[in-house]
Symmetry: C2
Amino acid sequence: MATNEQIYFKPEKLKAFAVSVSMKYGLSKGDAEIFIDNLIDANLAGVDTHGLTRLSIYLKRIKLGLINPHPVMTFEQKFPIAAVLNADNGLGQIAGEKAVRKAIELAGTYGLGAVAVRSSQHFGALGYYCNIAAQNEVICLAFTNAEPALPPWGSYEAYFGTNPLAMGVPMKGEIPVIIDLSTSIVARGKIISAAKRKIPIPEGWALDPEGNPTTDAEKALAGAVLTMAGPKGYALAMMVDVLSGVLSGSGFGKHVHSMYKDLKNGADVGHFFLCIAIEAFMPKKNFYERMKTMRDEIKNSAKREGVDEIYIPGERKKKIKSERLNTGIPLSSDVLDELKALAKENNVTWDLD
Amino acid sequence: MATNEQIYFKPEKLKAFAVSVSMKYGLSKGDAEIFIDNLIDANLAGVDTHGLTRLSIYLKRIKLGLINPHPVMTFEQKFPIAAVLNADNGLGQIAGEKAVRKAIELAGTYGLGAVAVRSSQHFGALGYYCNIAAQNEVICLAFTNAEPALPPWGSYEAYFGTNPLAMGVPMKGEIPVIIDLSTSIVARGKIISAAKRKIPIPEGWALDPEGNPTTDAEKALAGAVLTMAGPKGYALAMMVDVLSGVLSGSGFGKHVHSMYKDLKNGADVGHFFLCIAIEAFMPKKNFYERMKTMRDEIKNSAKREGVDEIYIPGERKKKIKSERLNTGIPLSSDVLDELKALAKENNVTWDLD
C-alpha cells in the first residue's frame, strides 16, 4: 500500500524542523527541544506510535488553548521525600522530565523519592523517563494514566486508560533494563495507527460501543480495548490509576479527556514516579554484579524452537535505536504529509527531502 | 470424585489445632499464631492453595532443618526510610508481617517506607500483608519472588517464580482495594492442586521439561508454567525479582529453592514492601472521596451479557470470607488426611470431626 511506504530521515534534521515548528506555537527553544527529543527518541526506539505521528495533535491542542505553552510548573511538598508537580496543563514531556529528575534527586538524598504529576497530558513512552533514572544509577518505577480505553472486567464501557507501568534498572556499563508495558491487550497506538491506515485489527483486541467484539479500528476506538490477561490487566490498570490519577489529584478513569476526540477540555492526565536508591539496600557494586548474573543467566536460557535470541526487556528497543541512528528514522507517508502540512501552515522551511 | 469431597470446619477450631501442631515443631505460641492466622486467612478468602494445604510441607521443612523455628530476625538500615530484614531462614509469614509493619511505620514518619526481606520462605498470599497496610490507612505495594516456574520469553527453562505483585489501597469505612496477581498465566498452586488430585490442566498453561506444551500437571511442575500475557508477564516477573530477589540480597531466578522438590537447601526467598502515606500527596479525606467515586463508577459500569456484578479487586475474596466465617472452611479430603496424619505423628488430639 502506498500509505505504508516509508522514507528515512536523519534524526537531527527531523529535530531541527520539529523544534522550529513547535516554537511557532509559543514554546521556548528549551521546552521545544525537551519535547521533540522525547518524540524522536520514541521513533528511534521503534515506538513510532509515540513519536512524530503525534506532533500535529499536540500542536493543534496548543493552538486550541487546550495545552498551555507557557506553564508555570510548581512542586508542592508536604513531606521532604515526596512531591506533587502541578503541570499547569503544560506539555507532558516537560512535566515528566521535571518530575523524574526531582524523584531521582530525592532518592539520592533520602534513599527513596516519589513525585506525582497532575494536570498534565499524554507524555510519550514511560521508558524514556526510566532511562533517565537509569543513567543516574537510580531504580525507577513509573506510571501514567491515559484517556478511557479499557473496561473494568465484566463491563464493556471504556473507563481506564491503557495505563502503562514501567521500571528502569541501571546496569553498570551495559544497556539498562527498561520494562515498559501497557495494561491493555495491545498498545492503543497500534489501533490508532490501524484506524489512520484504514486497516482492520485482529480479533480479540477490542469491543465496539455496544459491547460486541470488533475488528474495525474506528469502532474499537469508539468502544473499548480489552485488558491484557483479562481480570489481571483490569487490576493493574486500576493500580496505575490510583497512583497516577487519584493520588496525584489529576483526572482518573473517565475523567481523563481524550487527546484526539475531546477538543474542548484539557486532558488532565496524571503521572507517578517512584525512585529507589540502590545503596539504601546494598552497595551498588554488589547490585550490579547480581544484575549481571541475572542478565547472563536469562540470555543463556535454553531457547524454544525457532527462537534465535532471548531478549532482556529494553534490549530490543536499544538495538533498533542503534540501527536507526545509522539508517535514519523511517516515516510513513501519512506522517510525512502531516509534517509537510505543518511546515506550510507555519511558514517553516521543509528541506528534508 | 471422592478426593474432591469437602467437609466444613470452624476456623477457630482449625486454628487451635494447627497452632498446637506447629508448637510441636518448636515454634513459640506467638509465632505459631501469626503463622496459622495467615494460612487460615487464605482459606477464608477462598485462596485454598495458600492455606492449610501447605501446613505439612512447612512443618516437614522445619523438621528437616530447612526452616529455622527460632530465627533472630534483624533490620539492617543504611537510610532512615529503608531497611533490609534478614529473616534468618525463619517462616515467611513471620518475616512478612514484621516487614510490612516496619514499612507502614516508616511511611507514617517519612511519607514513604521500603523494606526488603532476604533469606525467607514462601510466605502466603501478598494480599494478606497489603490488607494490614490498608487497615493502617497506608497504600502498600508488595512483591515476592518464588521458586523457578516461568521461562523468560523465548525460553522453556523455568527461571523466574510465578512472582506475584500486589497493592493495597485503604477505603475509609469500606472494603479496601486489594490487587494481588501472579505473573504466570495461572497460579502455580492450581497446578500443584491438580497434581495432588491427579487431574489434567488446561492447554496453554505449561510446557514439559523438553519445551513441549503439556496438560499433565506433574510434567508442568517439572517443566515451566507460561507467563501471563506472553512477554509482558516475563517483564513483570523480572520487575518483581529485581526488587524482591536482587535488591534484597536474597536468592533470585533459579537460585530460589523449591519448597516441595528441594529438601536439602533453605528456600532463600525474598520479598519487597513499599508503603506510601496518602497525606504526603493529598489530605486523606480527599483521597477517600476520590477513591469512592472511582469505586462507584466502576461498580455502575455497563455490564457485558451474562455478567451480574462488576467486582473491585479484593471484593470477591472479602465476600467469600464473610460466607466462610458463617459456613466454616471447606477442606478437601486429601488436606484433611494430611492434617490427621500430623495429629497422629505429633500426638495432638484431633477433635474436629
